[in-house]
């Protein structure tokens, strides 16, 4: 006898998958999730250990191509100027993200109307704000309300801000002199114990897993609760195809278990939450006679408009010891001074700046990302100048959508189960280059005003594709969008994509808080419309 179909099958147990699973489980849905990675024990993270800076460059690299783990899928990035970064596990890429948690701004939802380029979103900042507030509470966000970069009103984050650190305070004072915006950064990192989790200890190793569990990830914040409510999470499960029936509805997913056996899970509704490359890959892998160009792709836009936020790092060096290897990573402070469009600058849109720590002695000693290497007697002076004496502005520039930037399927490269790997095609636009040039100059001015005696610039970092966005954009018109305003595919009424694929434009901020707010909004809608939901018979 065939197994009873689950109400909702989720693919991917990361940020958005965890949020949707918990919301649906709370509403009484029978939820199953397939995750190709596994659970991690916090004791596995290397932050307090001597090998931290060794393993961050291999076993705990943010690039699946560098890690080369069997649960990763490789990426053909030969034609990409930025390398996509991700992690396969329960909690997903949140295990290795920094934890910075800014929201998008009102103008980000109206880029076409305001700047005459790209597209508007089918929703507004005000519509999303209540979901930001709910997810802030779920994840445990530290920060401070009242930031004049955002509209007033609404709830403050549940926890007070994390420390600025010596470098952050210097730069905040400098911005006061310059009359420039700065504000304590929102981080999904606990400044105090919260919801059974411990507070941050400022170790500065957030991107290689948080040993304290202070940095939010859904393996801590959502999955235990969802499982407690009856959700089923299957790890080591690699989905290779979303199946459909003659009525054009999704019927479930075919997947491969740890032993290499093919399995099928039948479902009434399928939710993809595998990031903007993984979900796109699955839609393309699900091509068949009825959907020769891939599932949900009547618009031809599946995989297209990939946005990854071109990133530059501007580091100031100071005479005094700032102990800048410590602190949340995450950011201490942010600046939106030059975020909004000013066409006199020669480009549109802008960038958020986030001030971050600077790693330990091995990072100071190895050739810099800009290629600088000092050997011989002066090597020691170089290391002493860099270790603990830096303040780094990370600049995330808004990446405008371009259909040529896209994910396709490789004809030659496969994962460890023989499934075609994604091929990433991505070029940095002229607008992005001009934008970064401007912001680098301004960020340098900021650090020099703060007392830096010199500034070092990494103009366009290759390994900076943390933010994977836009490959199945939402919109009201099925001819020009893949998803509707509720993250449901226009073509397949019981198929949703709830990760960063849905982004219409990228904004210029770290996107995870927006991804999970949108995912919660989609899940709420699934609950509210459960009796109208079309499902396979």
């Amino acid at each position: 006898m065939a197994a009873e179909p689950v109400d909702v099958l989720i693919v991917g147990a990361g940020a958005s998958g965890g949020v949707v699973a918990l919301r649906l489980a709370e509403a009484g849905f029978k939820v199953t999730c397939l995750e190709q990675g596994d659970w991690h024990d916090r004791a596995e993270y290397r932050g307090p250990e001597l090998d931290w800076e060794l393993t961050m460059r291999k076993q705990w690299s943010t690039s699946p191509n560098v890690r080369g783990l069997p649960q990763d899928y490789p990426l053909d990035e030969t034609d990409a100027e930025i390398s996509p970064l991700m992690y396969s596990a329960v909690g997903g890429s949140m295990l290795i993200f920094a934890g910075a948690w800014p929201r998008m701004l009102p103008s980000d939802f109206r880029v076409r109307s305001l700047d005459g380029i790209a597209d508007d979103w089918p929703l507004t900042f005000e519509e999303l704000r209540p979901y930001y507030e709910r997810t802030d509470r779920q994840f445990g966000v530290s920060g401070m309300g009242g930031d004049p970069a955002y509209p007033p009103g609404g709830e403050d984050p549940p926890l007070p801000p994390l420390p600025l650190g010596k470098g952050g305070l210097k730069v905040a004072r400098a911005h006061t002199k310059l009359g420039w915006h700065w504000w304590p950064e929102f981080n999904s990192i606990l400044s105090a114990p919260y919801d059974g989790r411990r507070a941050c200890v400022q170790r500065g190793t957030c991107q290689q897993g948080c040993n304290e569990g202070a940095k939010a990830s859904t393996d801590l914040t959502h999955w235990p609760k969802a499982i407690g409510l009856g959700a089923k999470l299957i790890t080591g499960a690699r989905v290779r195809k979303i199946e459909t029936n003659d009525s054009g509805l999704a019927t479930g997913a075919t997947w491969i278990d740890r032993e290499g056996n093919e399995q099928f899970t039948q479902a009434k509704v399928v939710v993809l939450a595998a990031n903007a490359i993984g979900s796109t890959r699955l839609l393309l892998l699900s091509a068949d006679d009825r959907h020769p160009d891939g599932l949900a792709n009547s618009s031809g836009l599946v995989g297209k408009r990939l946005m990854m936020h071109p990133f530059a790092n501007v580091g100031g060096l100071f005479d005094e010891d700032l102990e800048s290897w410590q602190g949340q990573f995450g950011c201490s402070i942010e600046s939106f001074e030059f975020y909004e469009t000013d066409e006199s600058r020669g480009f549109v849109r802008g960038a958020k700046w986030g001030l971050a720590p600077t790693f330990g002695p091995i990072n100071a000693a190895l050739p810099s990302r800009a290629g600088t290497q000092i050997w011989g007697p002066d090597h020691h002076l170089h290391v002493k100048a860099h270790l603990g004496r830096g303040a780094n502005w990370g600049l995330f520039g808004e990446d405008l959508p371009d259909e040529a930037n896209q994910v396709t399927l490789s004809k030659t490269l496969t994962d460890s189960d023989g499934i075609p790997a994604p091929e990433v095609h991505y070029k940095v636009s002229d607008n992005s280059r001009r934008l970064l040039d401007f912001h680098i100059e301004k960020a340098s001015q900021s650090l020099l005003e703060a007392g830096a005696y010199t500034v070092e610039v990494d103009r366009l970092m290759r390994y900076s594709g943390w933010h994977l966005l836009g490959t199945a954009r939402m919109g009201d018109d099925p001819a020009t969008s893949v998803l509707d305003r509720w993250n449901r595919t226009h073509d397949v009424p019981n198929l949703y994509v709830v990760d960063g694929s849905c982004f219409v434009t990228s904004a210029g901020v770290n996107p995870t808080s927006s991804i999970v707010a949108l995912a919660l909004r989609a899940a709420d809608h699934m609950v509210e419309t459960r009796f109208e939901q079309q499902v396979p018979v």
Binding site: P48, K58, G146, D147, P148, P184, A192, R203, E340, P377
Partner: protein
């Protein structure tokens, strides 16, 4: 001749014969010599440090052996230049191995004043310095900076 890495067992140092080991030390001392109150990498990197690195990062062993292979001459600077030009993977593995081994040495870290990534308690109930100094008050006093989609202009204070 170096040992076959496949037959190493658990000790990666078994792959380095005395010639390779001597070449490694010469290169380490060339790149990081004794100076400015810091010891030479040739003196710091003994078997324990090298074993630690190559056990943690097995992936470095093969390209490291390539960097230490005979036939590239005795001169350290010349070997490094050749490797950087002709075999960047081996060059990178050599540099990484030396840096990893040197900067995980306790005495080196002590001389740098680097205690490792320490756990520090937060006192989030304390009023932060930036509040005491009125820094955020000044940001607020300058007014809103977000762009209002309704007008296309910077928002007016409410």
């Amino acid at each position: 001749m170096t040992a076959d890495p496949i037959a190493l067992g658990d000790d990666p140092l078994a792959a380095l014969d005395p010639d390779a080991r001597a070449t490694f030390s010469a290169l380490a001392g060339h790149l990081i010599p004794e100076a400015h109150g810091m010891p030479s990498a040739a003196d710091v990197i003994g078997d324990a440090r090298l074993r630690f690195v190559l056990t943690t990062r097995r992936d470095l062993l093969e390209p490291l052996l390539a960097a230490l292979r005979p036939g590239l001459g005795e001169d350290a600077a010349s070997r490094l230049a050749t490797l950087e030009r002709d075999d960047p993977e081996a060059h990178a593995a050599l540099i990484s191995t030396i840096v990893f081994a040197y900067y995980t040495d306790r005495e080196v870290r002590e001389r740098l004043g680097y205690p490792g990534q320490e756990a520090k308690q937060l006192y989030s109930w304390k009023v932060p310095d930036f509040i005491e100094e009125g820094l955020t008050d000044q940001v607020i006093a300058r007014g809103p900076i977000w762009r209002d989609p309704a007008t296309g202009r910077r928002a007016e204070p409410r």
